[in-house]
Symmetry: C2
Subunit: 442 residues, 2 copies
């Protein structure tokens, strides 16, 4: 083993020497390190990511850095996030991978045994080096990039809906033993620095002139100022922050945007759960939907090679289908795997009362619905007014055009966040999105 | 030191020998252990409690037992609850003891510097023996007993309102550093067995034929069956359980009933926080108010020495004043100590927007209001239909009379739990209590 004792960042050059003794890796890609080809491909905000190809195969090596890569070493960030990513991946594998049995109708009838997004396989974890060696996903590409390119992936709504329903249901007191969830909650409570990033970058910084904010300027200056003076919006954003910080309902992915999803035409994989923390079910769902809506509003900026009308329809369809699949699968798990301490069968089914647990399910889903709209709204804002922006908008080179797209998304997000308690259905939300898209551009 | 290495339960006989070397104790009550008088006075459900009187003073020694005292050694319970009680007491001391400064008007104008309930002083904590040596409160008596005796304590509403506002506000993300709250949350998450008692005994067991339940039978059989078949009530109770289990808003006392409060005419002290856990602010408040309402409905059973009309009016007044003081103090802390990450001033006051944070405060208090009514409702039910009953009702020897009192309380509790979202004010709730009290008895 050439592994050093204290943390040292890898480089493409040092990686073969440093990992030559890691059998979980050499068994898969070959022992001849001289033949290894190493590329650093990390385009995220936080970490180093290498693809290592050997004579017999390939793997990904992801290493945390002791600071935020996007900002530099002026913003230190604990290496321990790698530990939480590892633990989140193992839990998600167990929860998302397990196929629901006995599905009477609906989704399951149409789904293959492997349906539903799963996480990459882990080969090796080195806590001290904050390093995870995992499956190289090929020919998968980042979903966000596919959507920018105008590709319509046929399975993502189904796969993502199933992934969220399974991981979020099975990580809650609806399914887990209370003791187990509390122990796990205590473990992940230590992921405080990453959680702090979410808390401040998503819910607070976009709504005042925080130093690290940026936006397309001067085009969005007026709208940014307007939103930062919008009392109802800010109060709602803080209610959502409170919900995120206090409502430790389930183990979240915590950063489930289209940049954390890798796809082929047939497969969907979810990566990068280092922001994993206990929080409200609606947070993951809202963030995921927000990213499809942002893709929708960004399409106008990518029409140089032709109209994106079909793509826009496709994206609104993805939103509707993701939520529908989520509801169906969540409801099925509610009926078949509700083994935790909440809404125990002794109070309902065991007394012959089916309607009781169905009534509770309706209310439970309604509460997720109301909150996901809010989380979606603030997620949109923070990607346009905050520190971490999306390639969907960022790759639109014409700044006036980009600002137009962003402006529509901002107004849409404001509507969701402030009116979430009164919004009836996704069909109506999508109709509004189409209205905004048409009216402010044409 | 005669302290043994592993846990051993104290007895009145062994206590002097075992604690002779505990300087924090001998300094206060005298070194001559032969002169110590030891009485075991624990009338609670869980622990041993001794009063030790020496030549120079007295102290209380509270020791956890490795099982539930009320049930016996068939129900093991970890000694570690003593650790959580100790840590809760130290936090409550810091939070409740600190008097608010700069109070412009209202409560503070009328309050002395020492106003507000505080916790007993801790002299010594022995984690291994699960033993806390603390202040002997004299001539304080248990508030529940005072209320059964028909005593009207003039300060409890003010003191309890202040205690709850201060401990619950200052233990939340409204005031604490996010990192500190998360660490503390992780610490208290390990108090899972005690939390499990609350979760099951308060929110689930009363609503089905759980083995350890009991109620005044046969008088209440029909009503108990009716409530256990009441779908809306059970769904609501489970929503409240979900809120209690998932919404880790602040460090709760966790068992804030009138048996956890000791009083004189001028002083109010809060004891026994071994159920401390992170949970919703409304839980402590709702439980406290529920116990005053139960006292109200139990008064009819204690009228052998004369009418309790004045006592009943007093109790409804206590409910109103407790909530009013809580709101006033909580609002003042909101305006002066909102130093945490939620509703940060950078979004409101720092932008010259006072109304923004006031709007948020109104909503915050409204949400506490709606939830406290629910928690009050289920607390009432579990004290009459579950395992742990209240002396308020239990000391009514005539079972028909007791059942009449209990029946009124049960119906009142059902109304609160199910209709909490639509209930306007405590005045109306109290008017309903009076109506129920008159109609079903006369």
């Amino acid at each position: 083993m050439t592994k050093t004792l204290s943390f040292e960042a890898l480089s493409a050059e040092s990686l073969p020497g440093r990992l030559a003794g890691t059998r979980a890796l050499t068994e898969r890609i070959g022992q001849d390190t001289a033949a290894w080809k190493v590329r650093e491909v990390g385009d995220g905000n936080l970490n180093l990511v290498f693809i290592v190809e050997g004579a017999e195969g390939a793997a990904v090596v992801k290493q945390a850095l002791p600071y935020v890569r996007l900002v530099g070493d002026s913003w230190p960030l604990p290496l321990k996030r790698s530990f939480f990513e590892y633990h989140a991946l193992t839990r998600q594998k167990a929860r998302a991978g397990k196929v629901v049995t006995g599905f009477p109708s609906g989704i399951a009838g149409k789904q293959s045994v492997s349906a539903g997004a799963i996480v990459p396989e882990i080969y090796h974890f080195d806590e001290e080096q904050a390093l995870i060696v995992m499956e190289y996903l090929s020919p998968h590409i980042i979903l966000r990039k596919a959507l920018i390119d105008g590709r319509r992936l046929p399975n993502i709504a189904r796969d993502l809906g199933l992934f969220m329903a399974r991981t979020l249901f099975r990580g809650s007191d609806l399914h887990m033993k209370a003791r187990d969830r509390k122990e796990d909650l205590a473990l992940f409570a230590d992921n405080a620095e990453l959680c702090d990033i979410t808390e401040n970058l998503v819910f607070t910084d976009p709504y005042f002139a925080a130093p690290m904010n940026r936006h397309t300027s001067p085009q969005l200056d007026r709208l940014a100022a307007e939103l930062r003076a919008d009392r109802d919006l800010k109060v709602e954003a803080q209610r959502l922050k409170h919900l995120f910080a206090a409502n430790a309902e389930t183990l979240l992915h915590g950063d489930l945007h289209t940049g954390s999803i890798m796809v082929t035409d047939t497969e969907t994989r979810v990566i990068d759960p280092e922001f994993a923390v206990y929080g409200p079910i609606a947070f993951d769902v809202g963030m995921a939907l927000a990213n499809f809506w942002m893709s929708f509003f960004s399409q106008r900026g990518h029409e140089n090679a032709g109209s994106r009308d079909t793509m826009r329809s496709y994206l609104l369809g993805v939103v509707v289908e993701t939520w529908a699949v989520f509801r169906t699968e969540f409801s099925h798990l509610w009926r078949t795997e509700r083994t935790g301490m909440l809404y125990h069968r002794s109070l309902f089914e065991d007394q012959g009362d089916i309607f009781g647990s169905e009534q509770a399910l309706d209310r439970f889903l309604h509460s997720i619905w109301v909150d996901l709209l809010g989380f979606a709204g603030v997620e949109i804002h923070r990607r346009i007014l905050g520190l971490a922006h999306n390639a969907d908008f960022e790759t639109i080179e014409n700044e006036d055009l980009r600002a137009k797209c962003e402006s529509k998304a901002l107004k849409f997000g404001r509507h969701l966040a402030v009116n979430r308690h009164a919004i009836h259905s996704l069909d109506e939300v999508n109709a509004l999105a189409e209205l905004i898209e048409r009216e402010t551009v044409s």
